[in-house]
Structure formats: C-alpha cells, structure tokens
Amino acid sequence: MGIWDLEPVPSMQIIPQDTTATSPYDTVWTQVPEQQPEGLERVMLAEDKLFVVLAVVLIIWFGLLFFLYRTDRRLDRLERSLERGISQDPDESVVG
Amino acid sequence: MNWMHGAWAVFEKDVRLELRSRYAINMLLMFVLAALLLVLFALGQTPVSARVQAAVLWIVILFSGAVGLGRSFISEEERGTVLLLQLNTHGSMVYAGKLLFNFVLVLVLNLVAVAAFVVLLSVAVPLPGLLLTTLGLGALGLAGATTLLAAIIARTANRGPLLPVLLFPLLVPLLLSVVSATRAALPGGAGWAGAQDELLTLVGFAGVVITASVLLFDYVWND
C-alpha cells in the first residue's frame, strides 16, 4: 500500500476562512484550472501532488551533495599540495 | 580638540575642496539629468502611473548617489592625506564630517532631481511638505549607508565599481519605504496619514545605519 492510499484524518478539514480579505493574489491561487494539466504539471500533480514534495527533497539533496563535492575538491587540492610538499622534503631534495 | 570643531573642520575642508573643483557636484547633477532624460525619452508619450514615477525618481537618485558618493574616501587615498587625518583627528570626527558633507551633497542632488522630475514629467505635487520630508529622510539614510561603504571600498584593490554592488542590497528597505512615501505625496496618494509608517521606518533606518557606522568606522579607518 502506498502512503498516498492512506485516508486523511477527517476531523482536520480546515474551512477556508476570511474570504472578505481579497487581495489580487487570492483569485490567483483559489482558482481551480478547468483544463487538464499538461506536460510537467501532469507529472507533478499526480498522486495528490506528492511529486512536488519529492522534487523539493531532491533539490535539497542535490544542493547539499553539490556542496559536498565542492568541499571534496578542496580536500583533493590540499592532498596534492601535501604530496608535492613531501616530495620536496629537504632530505630528499639533498639526495636529488 | 573639541569634537564638534574637529568634525566641522573635516566638513569645511571637503566643502572648500569641492567648491574649488566642483567635480562631485557636477558629476552628480549631470548624472541625474542624463538619467532622467533617458528615462523620459524611453517612455515617450506614455502616461506613467504615480507608483512608477516615484520608482523612477528614486532609482535615478540611488544610482547617482552610488556613482558619486564613493569618491569621498578614495580622494583622500589618492591625495595621500589619509595619514594626516588619522594623526590629527579622531575617527568619529572624520566620519561625522564626511557624513555631513555627503548628506548635503545628496540633499542638493535630491532637490535638483525632484525639480527636474516635476518639470519634465509635469507631475503635480499636492503635498510638497511630505515630499520634502521624504527627500530629507531618504538623503539621510542614503548618506549614512554610503559613507561607511565608501570608507570600505577605499580599502579595496580596484575601488570604483564595487560601491553599487555593496550598497544596493542594503538599501532595499530604504528604497521600498521611500517610494511608498513619495507615492503618498503624489496625486491620489494616501497623504501624511498613509505615509506615517514609512517615515518612521526611514527615521529608524537612518538611525540604525548611522549608529552602526559610528561603531564600525574606526575598524576600517585605523587599519
């Protein structure tokens, strides 16, 4: 059973309140689009919009991953300069 | 040396230098006029809403401020007078003198910009008092924020173009309040009552910016 099959808690239905305060954005987000969603939206809106959550989690995951790689690159650079430093160690350079 | 005298001496020195060359003031005025005219040419005959008028006016003022006010400390570095000032005065006096000078400069700039703006766009101003108050408070906030940043960029390698980059993000609260307050002074605006919050924000902004600058200035100045 997928988690989207679970019944929502019925008592928690929230009645939309304060409909008198109409800002221009109100009309934007309460309108339910009549036409069938297309393309990207069809994917994102499937399964009660669960894929939106997936997208958000993936963005965060990839962002942190990218950051991790950046730190890794700096460590690589450090390692390389350490190696170079060791090969130029005075003891060895006297021999060479 | 008395603190007030010291600050005043720095201010007087800057004014005298400025009157001799008239470089900063000429540049600022030319910049404002050229920018306003360019906007007018680009708009053509299109009628512009009061909100857009206020926005255009302040964008032009902020840009010319960012271009012109960066000079105040760079010129000291170029003339090699920094050391003299450091030896003879206290940092806070230099800051106060420079702030006063920049404030006067921005105020002149604002008045010219508004005059040009009113004439060129044929804007009616039902509440000139509110507009002038907004201009004064906006000038204070702008000068307060710019003076410290000008001292900062005088310390960087290639001084000029960095100031707008540092300045604009910090001025977003100022820009938003000043545009609303100006909008309130134009026809169809909310008037004094509607601009109350914005004016208070401007006073607070100028106060915080100047206090922070006074506290931080010594660290940039005595390096």
């Binding site: 939309p16 934007v28 669960l50 | 980059v165 938003l176």
Partner: protein, 239 residues
C-alpha cells in the same frame, strides 16, 4: 618546517564526529516520518503540506547561519583572531547555499501548488524577495572579500561589512512584508495554514526537521572550517 602549530585546535573533533553521527540518524528519522505519518488533507495543498518539513527549515537554517556569521565577525573585530574570520566566511557560505535551496524549493512548491495552470515561477512573495536580498547581500560580501588580497585587511573590512549588513536586516523583515501580499502563513487571505492551525500531528516533525537541518548546517560548516584552516596552515607553513 613541519612544526606542529602551537595554538590549540580550533575544533573539538570528538564532538564533531558525535554530532555528525547523531544528525545522520536524526535526519533519517525526520525524512521517514515526514513521508509516512498521516497528515490532514487540505484542498490545494494535498500532500505538498509535507514540504513544510523541508522547505521551511531552509529559512530557519539560513537565519541561524546569518547569526553565526555576524557573531564571528563581531568576535573578529574584538579579538583579531584569524580563525574568527574563517568561521564567519564559512558560515556565510553555507548559509548562502541554504538560502538558495530555500528559494528554489519555494519556487517549485508554489509553481505546482498555487500557480497550477498559470506558469508563474517567480512571484513577489515577501519572504522570497527577502531571501533574494539576503543572497544579494552575501554575494556582495563574497565579492568584497575577493577584491582584497591582504589577509588582515580583508578580514577586517569583510567583518565590518557583514556587521553593517546585519544591522540593516531587521528592516528588511519589517518593511518588505508590508509592501507585498504573501502565500506564507499569517498573510491575509492565505489558504495556507498559519501558526495557529498548524496541525498537531505535523508539529513535532516540523520542529525536529528545523533542529535537524540547523545541526546539519553546523556539521557542514565545521567541515568547511576545518578545510579552510588546513588550507591556511599549508599556505603559511608549506611543508
């Protein structure tokens, strides 16, 4: 040559390793609960209400990073300790990334939830605008740092700019929301849940997510500070 540095280590490695392990377990739990616990189903929001656990902590984490960066900048000016400068810079960098992630996740959430069928990606939501300005400020901070070569002067000037910017930030949080309508809780006419009707089921996971992300920030930040300190060490005393 190769002399061990005399100053005491800037980071307690045992504590760091412990926290790193703990945050791994903790966040795994948060993510698990975030998907598996039932939540009240609201119209429009549907399952995207679960984004509360991931999107909102980005904002909290960025604020934490801003505070950490400002604190270390202030300490730098007071003590002239170069480690403080490294800490301030790294906190700002990690905070910048969290802010960016917050903006990107917010854009995706709004696009496929409130702006379905409208094709609106960027909107002038106050919090989005605010984070955008924060990112601009830190972008300016990094630009300023890269424009000065001399380390002590760079550290000092950057610390001054960071503190100056931090002083103006409260105005941003006060002014911007007054100028724009918002999708966020507390705004007029927003169908999104506000603080008062955040469902009790969601509350513990939400708080756990905030704590988890802030600790995660601390771990990444400490890792970066370690790297940066090593880099500096190598530059000062090449082997």
């Amino acid at each position: 040559m190769n002399a061990p540095s005399t100053r005491k280590p800037a980071i307690d490695l045992r504590r760091y390793r412990f926290v790193r392990a703990a945050v791994g377990v903790w966040m795994t739990g948060v993510i698990g609960f975030a998907f598996l616990r039932d939540i009240p189903s609201l119209e429009i929001l549907e399952h995207t209400a679960r984004n509360l656990y991931f999107h909102v902590p980005m904002w909290f984490t960025m604020m934490a990073a801003v505070i950490v960066a400002a604190y270390h900048s202030a300490r730098y000016l007071a003590t002239d300790d170069p480690v403080r400068d490294v800490r301030a810079e790294q906190a700002a960098r990690v905070g910048f990334v969290f802010g960016l992630l917050g903006i990107l996740t917010g854009i995706v959430w709004a696009r496929f939830t409130w702006y379905v069928g409208q094709g609106i990606w960027w909107n002038f939501d106050p919090r989005q605008t605010m984070v955008a300005v924060f990112l601009l400020i830190y972008g300016a901070y990094f630009t300023l740092r890269s424009s000065i070569d001399e380390p002590t002067r760079r550290a000092r000037v950057a610390a001054v700019y960071n503190l100056f910017a931090a002083a103006t930030m409260p105005f941003l949080t006060y002014v911007v929301p007054r100028q724009m309508p918002s999708l966020h809780p507390g705004a007029e006419g927003s169908p999104a849940f506000s603080e008062t009707d955040l469902a009790p089921v969601m509350r513990p996971i939400f708080y756990a997510a905030i704590i988890g992300f802030i600790v995660l920030f601390w771990v990444i930040y400490t890792q970066r500070v370690r790297t940066a300190l090593l880099e500096e060490e190598l530059e000062e005393n090449p082997l």
